[in-house]
């Protein structure tokens, strides 16, 4: 049997394909190899390696940057599941470093302090795929236009409050339905209003979903939160501070994994929520000094 073949890395299909493999699962923020092990043991589909979870970034203030490569490498050596890491918005040099480290996905993230207030990273230029946050459909499609292979609704990271995640997810899915019901004449004006590339708006109108998977992040802290956003259309969930800032992180990690898979079976959500200990304390959104979701444009 002979194979004369051209092998191609970094194609859109393999970059979006890894996001497809994560669907239904939970991606957990971890700050050291021990937490990464807890996440993998609990059935996480990937970990996000970062120096401080968003709740601590919020508390400590200062400039939040890409993590120390040594810490990322220690986590890569500890787990067999994909390892993601965050770069600052627009900081393509941090992204180049993360690609050189062989991380599996880069999150160009509003949780870190933005490096460029006009431009996001040209993500087509990379072999490694990118995930980006979005608060609405226009923002999501601008990120896809720049090469993002996975979109997460932003929510408000580090608050333990799901309200912003719900707002952003509903905003995206409601506008997708609006595109679907628009007639051909209206789609041009819709693309203009959304400030989104016309071909992507036409694609959404035809397929009824984003060109890439849609996950949810930002403020999820209980199994019921995971169930809620999955029922609202998120295909997987990112949980940041919600696990390792809870009373019993091991149990919380297991419970949220079960909840994401069996999101539409309330008896499972009830079972895994029982005797779970307290979730992270959380912040009421109106009391916040800084809205991370407003970063990125």
């Amino acid at each position: 049997m002979s194979n004369t073949q051209t092998t191609r890395t970094g194609s859109t299909l393999v970059k979006r394909g890894l996001a497809d493999m994560l669907r239904g699962g939970v991606i957990m923020d971890v700050v050291n190899p021990e937490q990464a092990k807890v996440a993998e043991d609990a059935g996480a589909v990937a970990v996000m390696a970062l120096e401080r979870v968003p709740a601590d970034i919020r508390r400590d203030g200062g400039v939040a940057r890409m993590s120390d490569p040594q810490m990322i490498q220690e986590i890569q050596a500890t787990v067999t599941i994909p390892v993601m890491a965050k770069a600052r918005i627009g900081h393509f040099a941090e992204a180049q470093v993360l690609e050189a480290l062989g991380v599996d996905y880069i999150d160009e993230s509003e949780v870190l302090t933005p490096a460029d207030e006009e431009n996001h990273i040209d993500k087509w230029a990379f072999t490694v795929p990118f995930v980006c946050g979005a608060t609405n459909l226009g923002e999501a499609l601008r990120r896809v236009g720049e090469g993002a292979c996975l979109i997460r609704s932003k929510g408000e990271a580090g608050t333990g409050n799901v309200v912003e995640a719900v707002r952003h997810l509903r905003s995206i899915t409601a506008m997708i339905r609006r595109c679907q019901s628009a007639d051909a004449n209206e789609l041009y004006a819709l693309a203009k209003d959304l400030q989104a590339p016309l071909p992507l708006v036409l694609e959404v109108a035809e397929t009824g979903h984003l060109p890439v998977p849609l996950f949810c992040a930002g403020g999820l802290s209980t199994p019921a939160d995971a169930s809620l956003v999955r029922q609202l259309g998120a295909e997987a969930v990112f949980v940041g501070s919600g696990i390792f800032k809870s009373e019993d992180p091991v149990r919380m990690a297991h419970a949220i994994v079960e909840a994401s898979t069996h999101f539409d079976d309330p008896s499972v959500i009830a079972k895994v929520s029982t005797g779970l200990g307290s979730a992270m304390r959380g912040w009421e959104t109106s009391s916040l000094d800084q809205r991370l979701a407003e970063r990125g444009w």
């Binding site: 049997m1 002979s2 194979n3 004369t4 073949q5 051209t6 092998t7 191609r8 890395t9 970094g10 194609s11 299909l13 393999v14 970059k15 394909g17 890894l18 497809d20 493999m21 994560l22 669907r23 239904g24 699962g25 993998e40 609990a42 059935g43 996480a44 589909v45 990937a46 067999t80 599941i81 994909p82 690609e99 062989g102 991380v103 599996d104 996905y105 072999t127 490694v128 795929p129 297991h254 994994v257 079960e258 898979t261 069996h262």
Partner: protein
């Protein structure tokens, strides 16, 4: 032929359902013992093998799937699904378990991390071509005597088996479900 289930705990379930449905097969999601009971064949999709293995245990499906495999139920595993079916898994977790239903040894992430994930055309035994999409793919290192190699990929001067079959159990290290080519699913369905 009855219905084909797709294990729906985690991973690219929808793509398998779409491909099977396009072939005129009744395809259903399997997340519970009752749903497993109702199907005549099963697809183990792509995803994260550690997460799917974990969820098989917590959902009470692990031993039931094992019993059906022993009883001869046809199964197709792609990528993570192949890892779950393999006899030996290298570079897995210390507590990695599998069904051992396919006499192959695989190395997890055997072609490297995501930046090494690739597309390459593959040649089937009958000379026809299928697109291969490999994502953090397992690499098949060894096959037992009862294992038929249905497609290979030229790699490092040799040929890696990428689609294998041992009786009713099929495994692919790539993702036929991610492309519009339905050849692999059609061959599996025709064998039922």
């Amino acid at each position: 032929m009855g219905s084909v289930g797709v294990l729906a705990l985690q991973g690219d379930v929808r793509e398998h359902l779409t491909t099977l449905t396009s072939l005129g097969v009744e395809a259903v999601r399997v997340r519970t013992p009752a749903e497993l009971e109702s199907v005549d064949a099963l697809v183990l999709p792509g995803g994260e093998s550690t997460a799917i293995a974990h969820l098989l245990v917590t959902s009470g499906l692990r031993d039931l799937v094992g019993a059906r495999l022993t009883a001869g139920m046809p199964v197709l595993g792609t990528c993570a699904g192949l890892i779950l079916l393999a006899r030996d898994v290298l570079d897995g977790r210390a507590d990695q378990w599998g069904y051992g239903a396919l006499e192959v040894a695989v190395r997890r992430n055997g072609y490297g991390r995501q930046i090494a994930s690739f597309e390459a055309p593959l040649t089937l035994a009958d000379g026809s071509r299928v697109p291969g999409v490999f994502i953090r793919a397992p690499r098949i290192l060894e096959c037992g005597p009862g294992v038929e190699v249905l497609a290979s990929y030229a790699h490092l001067g040799g040929f890696d088996p990428v689609l294998v079959r041992e009786g009713p159990v099929w495994g692919a290290s790539f993702h036929p479900e991610l492309t519009t080519d339905t050849t692999v699913h059609r061959l599996f369905v025709e064998s039922l």
